[in-house]
């Protein structure tokens, strides 16, 4: 099958369309992030999370109302998978106490229910601080090392393009987490696995960008007289088949993870799906145009 064999789309000449789309997405994301904010999972906030099974037919809102008084705080209750419920509370109860309260309340308030605890997480508030710090260091460290690596392998304009694309991807993915939280039937809270997903997105998006840049470098060495934006556009087209194939296979597997990977991985695989799409888009519509703009500016300054 050869779909993009003779591809010669005008990506760079039409880069303004990309700018408009990206700007809208970025504005929406930043808007939502600054107003709605992100929902922090217990990893970064501290608290207790209890998953009970065997509660078919119970409505999350009813259970929440029943649990509010005994747990002494405002617990969150969500569906977990098809038959379970997830109870999240920030009180500093001992794990055992919280478990007993949840079970006994559900048993007494809903006749016939025989809840069973299948998963409990308790993260102390100070430990959550530590985890948050660790996550922050990891993200910053990853960005710094990647920037350095690109700087060594390519020149600084390429680095700027790649990093712009990364910031773009992570901001929009975070933004989607913020916008969609509460609107989708699964949890979109920020926790350690979502951070891991973000870093993977960073790696993936970069992977995509590097392939295009690699070709730009190769072509510009071959065609020294050609205009730079033509070279970039041609490189994007040359690698388009590969970009689409790899994105497709990766999208296939992350979508499978989302649907079959179980409830625990929902947020994680959702972040990956969004990230793969945005990452592919950004290597064509953000990283490469930024590279071209920077080059133009230099040329103008020289002229």
């Amino acid at each position: 099958m050869r779909i993009f064999e003779e591809a010669s789309y005008s990506f760079i000449p039409n880069r303004r369309i990309g700018y408009i789309i990206s700007s809208i997405l970025l504005l929406l994301s930043i808007g939502s992030l600054s107003t709605r904010g992100l929902q922090m999972g217990i990893d970064f906030r501290g608290g207790i999370e209890i998953v009970v099974e065997n509660v078919e037919g119970l409505e999350a809102t009813d259970v929440r109302a029943a649990l509010a008084a005994p747990l002494g705080s405002d617990p969150e209750v969500k569906t977990f998978g098809e038959t379970g419920l997830l109870v999240r509370t920030s009180t500093e109860l001992a794990t055992t106490e919280a478990e007993e309260l949840v079970i006994s309340t559900i048993e007494s308030e809903f006749a016939g229910a025989q809840p069973q605890i299948v998963k409990t997480d308790n993260v102390g508030p100070r430990f959550a601080e530590e985890l948050k710090r660790g996550a922050l260091y990891a993200v910053m460290g990853a960005l710094a090392i990647i920037f350095l690596y690109i700087l060594i392998r390519f020149e600084w304009r390429y680095s700027m393009g790649a990093v712009a694309a990364l910031v773009h991807d992570v901001t929009i993915t975070l933004g989607l987490f913020s916008i969609l939280a509460g609107l989708v039937p699964f949890s979109l809270q920020l926790d350690q696995s979502v951070i891991a997903a973000f870093l993977t997105i960073v790696g993936y998006s970069l992977n995509d960008t590097v392939v295009v840049f690699d070709r730009v470098r190769e072509v510009s060495n071959m065609l020294k007289t050609e205009k730079f934006d033509v070279i970039v556009n041609r490189s994007i087209n040359n690698t388009l088949s590969r970009t689409v194939v790899t994105s497709t296979t990766t999208l296939i597997v992350v979508t499978i993870l989302f649907f079959f990977g179980g409830e625990v991985l929902k947020g994680f695989s959702f972040a990956l799906i969004v990230g793969v799409i945005i990452g592919t888009y950004s290597s064509i519509f953000v990283a490469s145009p930024v590279l071209v703009e920077l080059r133009h500016r230099i040329e103008k300054a020289a002229a």
């Binding site: 099958m1 050869r2 064999e5 998953v51 099974e53 998978g81 001992a94 794990t95 055992t96 299948v118 998963k119 409990t120 308790n122 993260v123 102390g124 100070r126 430990f127 530590e130 985890l131 660790g134 990891a138 460290g141 990853a142 090392i145 990647i146 392998r153 350690q192 696995s193 891991a196 870093l199 993977t200 960073v202 790696g203 993936y204 970069l206 992977n207 995509d208 590097v210 392939v211 690699d214 190769e218 690698t239 088949s241 590969r242 790899t246 296979t249 990766t250 999208l251 296939i252 597997v253 992350v254 499978i256 993870l257 079959f260 990977g261 179980g262 625990v264 991985l265 994680f268 695989s269």
Partner: protein, 676 residues
């Protein structure tokens, strides 16, 4: 110089033919073929125990409980070996508990101080708050706080430890480094205590690791009672010195217990069999050969006697009649030469015996001043390798508690180089110790930690000076263990659970299923897509992909990594991303073909030209893996590990293995390979 030589070598005319221009080229690939086969072989070899373990568990799942036990006994060694070498599953797949404990070193400083004042208390409180807010060690924060309050402060005002040379005249630096050592030791001791408790709970393959300066990470697979574990981990260790039950009374207790559980008709027989043993046991030789002496005098120990016999009163097991449950569970009653041991039993029988003893009727038989406690360590083993523990009769009343122990250390006899334990008590403890040992010379005394008997040496003489020597130990390890216990007596600092994650076995199973389905479906769909897009070349890429998955699992098993749910997600993700290298290569080959090159030339330059992009793209993702690994905990690290393993093996399969296959197809078999 060396470069010149190499180039010279390459142009030597009479080089063997296949090094220069062999038309088939396959012989030149000999090294690649060898490495591929070697890698694959290595991976399959390291995966073999996993298959074995899976086979055993499948086989056993079809059996009844009794058949299982019998089968387990028969193949214990094989099964255990297969299990210990097979691919480890993380707690999120297996079910279990992950707990992070934090030793409150701040409070330790307060406990170590001999005369606290208001400045000290205020500084310590500030220091604890500060070290919690920012990640400074509490000792450092404390010293800074003290110096802020009084630049000329002498820390030696507050601390004294003659053994470690901390006196009124000690410099601040000296005190600070001593405090650091104490804080560090507190965590080490905390870890030992936790390990002891966990071992006693009977968790299979627990993992206890130290994380940064004061955290301990405990991983316990397959826990069915998390509540008890929480209590176990948080509770303060209680070290006690107790006298033993009188051997004659212990015999009576044993007989009456057996009778209590005897099905009525054969009660008499059992009572008779047990008296045979008790007669011999009554002369009261020094159990285990350990002994307590004053100072450095040594007692020769005779520890050759190891109880491996499996005699127990035979209550007609071939007759179909009811049997005595207590007799069934115990390996041997009142073993010979061990006057304070009521019974021997294997580790797996201890819980049965505990519940039999807890029965109200049985509990009434045990006198109020006597308690039956298990030995902390095994005393022997059965022929098929099961460890045997002693059930000992000790006095309920503790004579002394662990806080009187000031110090303990391992010492070696200058003449025989035998290990012994030297223990020092404070003045008050020494006074009571002297009275107890004086009144009980020739008898045994037990060191009890958390209701488990660590050691029960014979008292050789009255010990007056507070310095006691425990001799006749079997190994340096045994001596070290006793020292650890003695020092841990009063847990130096409180321990908090700061993080806890528990996954039930049912959710774990669901996760394994979900992961398995994801891997299989992902592999199938990606493979189909590749064939659709690249035809023959797609099939070759799929072979590489399959090999890649085998290699990842093999590498994980070989490096003893743990497979977690995010780890499986990493493998699934790798399946999608691993084809990237081949996609880059195949697209390049297509381009070369379009430019009019021959198949052979296209393949060769396709691989060559794609390499730089492949490496750049993979190195960056690998970096992300490294960073994830170094920051993450448990499951996230599992993800990072599979991601990194996946990158490495996909580079190998995509670049080396596919090239080999194409060389074979194109050069050897002269096939026309379609790149779609």
């Amino acid at each position: 110089m060396s470069i010149a030589q190499v180039r010279l070598g390459a142009t030597v005319p009479d080089l063997p033919r296949h090094f220069t221009n062999n038309p088939t080229l396959m012989k030149g690939n000999g090294f690649k073929v060898f490495t591929t086969i070697a890698f694959l072989g290595l991976c399959l070899w390291s995966l073999f125990p996993s298959f074995q373990s899976f086979y055993y568990s499948q086989k056993m799942s079809d059996m009844t409980a009794e058949e299982q036990a019998a089968y387990m006994d028969e193949n214990r060694q094989n099964i255990q070996q297969a299990r210990s070498e097979s691919l480890k599953l993380g707690l999120d797949l297996l079910g279990g508990m992950h707990v992070t404990l934090e030793v409150q070193t701040g409070q330790l400083i307060g406990q170590l101080a001999t005369n606290r004042d208001s400045t000290f208390d205020a500084a310590l409180k500030e220091a604890i708050d500060r070290s919690e807010a920012a990640e400074t060690p509490v000792v450092t924060a404390f010293v800074q706080e003290m110096e802020e309050r009084d630049p000329n402060i002498r820390l030696s005002r507050y601390f004294r430890d003659e053994d470690d040379g901390i006196t009124r005249r000690s410099e601040n630096d000296q005190v600070v480094s001593w405090l650091r050592d104490q804080a560090d030791e507190a965590v080490t001791r905390g870890m030992e205590i936790v390990r002891n408790r966990v071992d006693r709970y009977g968790v299979t393959e627990p993992s206890i690791q130290r994380k940064d300066d004061r955290q301990i990470v405990v991983e316990l697979p397959g826990i069915d009672d998390p509540d008890r574990i929480r209590e176990l981990l948080k509770g303060t260790a209680q070290l006690e010195f107790r006298l033993m039950a009188e051997p004659a009374r212990l015999q009576q207790v044993a007989q009456r217990l057996i009778q209590y559980y005897e099905p009525s008709d054969s009660a008499l027989a059992a009572a008779q069999t047990s008296t045979v043993d008790t007669a011999a046991a009554a002369d009261g030789a020094s159990e285990e050969g350990t002994a307590l002496t004053d100072g450095t005098q040594l007692t020769e120990a005779d520890t050759s006697e190891q109880g491996t016999s499996l005699t127990g009163p035979d209550t007609g097991s071939d007759a179909a009649g009811p049997s005595n449950p207590l007799v069934e569970a115990v390996q041997q009653f009142l073993p010979q030469g061990r006057p304070v041991t009521i019974a021997w039993a294997t580790a797996q029988d201890t819980s049965t015996i505990n519940s039999l003893m807890a029965d109200p009727g049985a509990a009434r038989i045990i006198p109020g001043d006597i308690e039956l406690l298990w030995s902390a360590a095994p005393v022997a083993s059965t022929q098929n390798g099961q460890e045997i523990y002693s059930l000992l009769g000790v006095k309920r009343q503790a004579e002394l508690t662990g806080d009187v122990v000031v110090d303990a250390s391992v010492e070696f006899s200058q003449q025989t180089n035998e290990p012994s334990v030297s223990m020092t008590m404070n003045a008050e403890g020494a006074r009571i110790w002297s009275r107890i040992t004086g009144a009980n010379v020739g008898k045994q005394v037990s060191i009890v930690l958390d209701r488990y008997v660590v050691s029960w040496p014979n008292i050789n003489e009255k010990i007056a000076g507070g310095r006691t020597s425990i001799t006749g130990l079997e190994s340096r390890q045994e001596a070290q263990d006793i020292v650890t216990v003695l020092k841990s007596g009063a847990l130096p600092a409180p321990v908090d659970i700061v993080e806890e994650r528990t996954v039930g076995p049912s959710l774990g199973e669901a996760s394994i299923r979900a992961g398995f389905i994801s891997v299989v479906v992902g592999l199938l769909l990606v493979a189909l897509f590749m064939i659709m897009y690249y035809r023959t070349a797609g099939i070759v890429a799929d072979v590489a992909l399959l090999l890649n998955v085998i290699l990842i699992f093999g590498v994980l098993a070989g490096f003893n990594a743990t497979l977690t749910l995010p780890g499986i997600a990493g493998i699934v993700l790798t399946i999608g991303m691993a084809v990237d290298a081949n996609v880059l290569i195949f697209d390049r080959i297509r381009e070369e073909q379009n430019a009019g090159k021959t198949l052979r030339a296209s393949v060769s330059s396709g691989y060559e030209k794609a390499l730089s992009a492949i490496l750049d793209a993979n190195i960056t993702t690998f970096f992300v893996g490294v960073i994830l690994y170094s920051f993450g905990v448990g499951p996230i690290q599992g993800f990072a590990v599979t991601l990194m393993a996946g990158i490495l093996s996909s580079l190998f399969t995509a670049i080396v293995v596919t090239r080999l296959i194409f060389d074979y197809m194109i050069l050897e078999r002269q096939m026309k390979v379609s790149y779609g």
